[in-house]
Symmetry: D2
Subunit: 301 residues, 4 copies
Amino acid sequence: MRKLEGILPPVVTPFRADEVDLDAFRTNLGLWNRTGLAGYLVLGSNGEAVYLDDRERDQVLAAAREAIPADRILMAGTGRESTRDAVRATRRAAELGADCALVITPHYFKGQMTADRQEAHFRRVADDSPIPVLLYSVPQFTGVALSPETVARLAEHPNIVGLKDSSGNVGSLAETCRVVPEEFAVFVGNAGVAYPALCVGAVGAILAVANCAPEACVTLYEAFRRGDHQEALALQRRIARLARLVTVTHGIGGLKLALSMRGYKGGGVRSPLTMPTVEAAHEIAKELEEVLEGHVSETVS
Amino acid sequence: MRKLEGILPPVVTPFRADEVDLDAFRTNLGLWNRTGLAGYLVLGSNGEAVYLDDRERDQVLAAAREAIPADRILMAGTGRESTRDAVRATRRAAELGADCALVITPHYFKGQMTADRQEAHFRRVADDSPIPVLLYSVPQFTGVALSPETVARLAEHPNIVGLKDSSGNVGSLAETCRVVPEEFAVFVGNAGVAYPALCVGAVGAILAVANCAPEACVTLYEAFRRGDHQEALALQRRIARLARLVTVTHGIGGLKLALSMRGYKGGGVRSPLTMPTVEAAHEIAKELEEVLEGHVSETVS
Amino acid sequence: MRKLEGILPPVVTPFRADEVDLDAFRTNLGLWNRTGLAGYLVLGSNGEAVYLDDRERDQVLAAAREAIPADRILMAGTGRESTRDAVRATRRAAELGADCALVITPHYFKGQMTADRQEAHFRRVADDSPIPVLLYSVPQFTGVALSPETVARLAEHPNIVGLKDSSGNVGSLAETCRVVPEEFAVFVGNAGVAYPALCVGAVGAILAVANCAPEACVTLYEAFRRGDHQEALALQRRIARLARLVTVTHGIGGLKLALSMRGYKGGGVRSPLTMPTVEAAHEIAKELEEVLEGHVSETVS
Amino acid sequence: MRKLEGILPPVVTPFRADEVDLDAFRTNLGLWNRTGLAGYLVLGSNGEAVYLDDRERDQVLAAAREAIPADRILMAGTGRESTRDAVRATRRAAELGADCALVITPHYFKGQMTADRQEAHFRRVADDSPIPVLLYSVPQFTGVALSPETVARLAEHPNIVGLKDSSGNVGSLAETCRVVPEEFAVFVGNAGVAYPALCVGAVGAILAVANCAPEACVTLYEAFRRGDHQEALALQRRIARLARLVTVTHGIGGLKLALSMRGYKGGGVRSPLTMPTVEAAHEIAKELEEVLEGHVSETVS
């Protein structure tokens, strides 16, 4: 597998008439393949994986495998509430060609998700997985966080190779980077702190906004890698507001609209999500222009 | 359908060697049928529904339908993250003979679950459901609450007939009872406030502890109904600590152990949940004795 | 001292041109003395005690002592961040004639306020106080709660005689009532749950809304005491919305305006608080009318 | 006034026999004056200002003024709950020679502290203050945060010159830095994110740990200023654990003990705070050694 680092979008799953639109999905991957993205997270939160059934998940993953060249990372979201389901989904993703699996913290019974139970869950999944496993901590969706101590213990497992930390808590992410082995790959999952997360040790970023503004995200990452902190900060500031609009403020509906504005195939969302209002669309268009202006030579459309 | 009121346990799903043990499940229902329980919630949170696949859910529901007499309520948990999945699960439950459906708030994308989107979700499910629908608000698991205002608006829908409010927030439950029509059935889902919830207008209670101590819960309810507040309060105090042990403190593992202690078939839990330690077991046994002492004429075993 | 039970308003401190208006304060007490209130909390949260200096606090307390007859309770808010200041303020209140002291949890260094430190603080204050002490738990202002276990331990102190629980958490209040001695006086400090709190063992209520609607609050309490639960619930519902407007929604500015509307001397608030807008005033007037209609024979003005 | 930037400790107030020990305080300042600290925050949270009375505050500030040379910043904590008290305290600090004032968000009535009321409060204090004002946002103590939008509006006031952001929220701090004028001085107040905060635009840091490890903090800052990100990150990691021990974990008691271990005059804390246990002391000593080893040429003792 390619080294785990760089920028990955958690790719959206386009719908047409409420059904998965695989053609649109393939079109998007084809366009993204022309950018400097290191790879893709398929069936993540922004892929609306919680709204897909198992058949749809298989279709999406198979289509992704076909469309993604071997030199880019194909990471698949395979976490489930029960350990047995997480094991099954991870094995299935491996069969369908995923390079690695991203496993979210179980979270329905939040109060019961002690560090011990988290550890047992992830160890079991990693033991039974044919492909390397990354942990996924996203407390704004789950109400459950992975502590740096828990990550450090899990990082000792030979088949647990990284973490996506979407908490936005840079202090905790910094502490995690401090206590894990050098080769353990910490990705930040929050565009508002992408640059500072890289500063404290993240090796890459998995960002919703990288769906619709991959060039800006990749440029930020490359600026950081070559030590150009001034440019990296300038890009961080440039993407911050758009990133917020297509996540916290307007959610996946906002993100899909931004994709459509840029010539990708955004498609619709599944209910209970909704597409943005006209006012929201104007707001998104304005910020998108701001991000793109002068910084993206080859636009898509 | 029988009138929606009284005590219902959210029945546990026993496992043996990590597989659903339908015989054990039927045994439990047989025992419960000899008590004054008004009915049963099947495939609820305490039924570990999030750990079951669709085939298992069907089996459990079908077994429940067979074992539950027509004069007791069979309520089925049918909520899902997407509206389409919630609709499908609700229709399926109707086919399998459920009397009514309990639909949890969608919650993965918490920040997007505005009142408008909540309403649209529930209206659509209710529109398409052959059986009456109850709303389910359990913020400690979902991070999402239903406001009294939202419930009031949804209560106008002819096929939305009630609510299970497990928040433990008696002020909010009281306000909800104040603003909904007389015939809208508000159930409290929190044993620690069962009696005060009845005082402010709840018509019944859906309580984990009613799995292992149905008699005490029914006696509390009956005391309240005949206006014996002193007895109702005494029973409230009697069950409070046990209820806490088999929910917040030790979770479903604790509840299943308590069931086994009383002669029911508790069975094991699915990972990442675990069964209680020996110390916890002693604690549960002690509180169980406390609750039963002198108050339960016919014990099970 | 009179028995600790019944309805007490946490009396507001009227300001005129940003100075304490003692005449207005005395006028209010004179009017309240004609109602069935059991007593008064002076220098509480709603008294804007955090906005008063020591000289003003002395003046207010001295004026209260003069205006309040011996057969009504004069409870004084004397909590401070440091134990030494809390001790001093409590002694001073005793000198000025307070019957008992209400001591808030220290809370600035929230993370450090362990149960042990809470206990040491309250024990020291109670040891050094010439008058009985009540604990005050109001997590919505302090971010710190008193657990039932901590209250139970403190209730063993001979000079700690009660608690004001303003959390609104009826489950916790019920548990507290269960574990403290019979004679320990638990007051609820939240009008939205006044009636259910009485049901689970509270002996009275200290309610902001009792400033502007003392009759309705007293009638609720008396209905409960004589076992008329139907009437108590009806009154609970009647006051709930007004109570919310003059606390959570519009704060002390709303409460003072409601007082003025009823013929009391509300006066202004100190900055950063502000008085309600015209729209808010209409809303308050409407709810006030709702509460008063038909239920208050002798109005004030 | 010297330019607002660099490292400032929020200096502790030593107590002996529960009284302010001004000699110890002066001794500490004398020692700190030999380091590269840019200045001092006096009467801040870590100065236990909430446990001091007005006379003590005056003494501490006067002693600070005497001991601090003109070329170092003397920032005084002057926030209060009421606007009038905050104005008075700020004027008093100016009289006693403070260079600038740090004004905390009012917070007792959290729910009422809307952006409008926050703005009005700070504007009034700044209008009436003879010295420049900095805003202070510390939600872990206050439960109230200042949004980037509010800070941006207040930054337009000619006498509001900066912010101390102790939230630890690097995303919000980054956004704040993006929307305020170049000359507005944003300080981070959280050692766990000091380096990433500098990366996104903070001009300095006000850190509890700078009381007991000023050299490491100053070295981190200087490394960052000369563009040595590797060294800055190494130091960030070196101080992170000690910083946590002397704030979140063991509080000011832990900080004062660490000071005493290093040859400063830590003294005791005021109740309800307590000094650390022997185990905690060992833990602190170990981390202190870790921080100092090889990185501090001139130690104090």
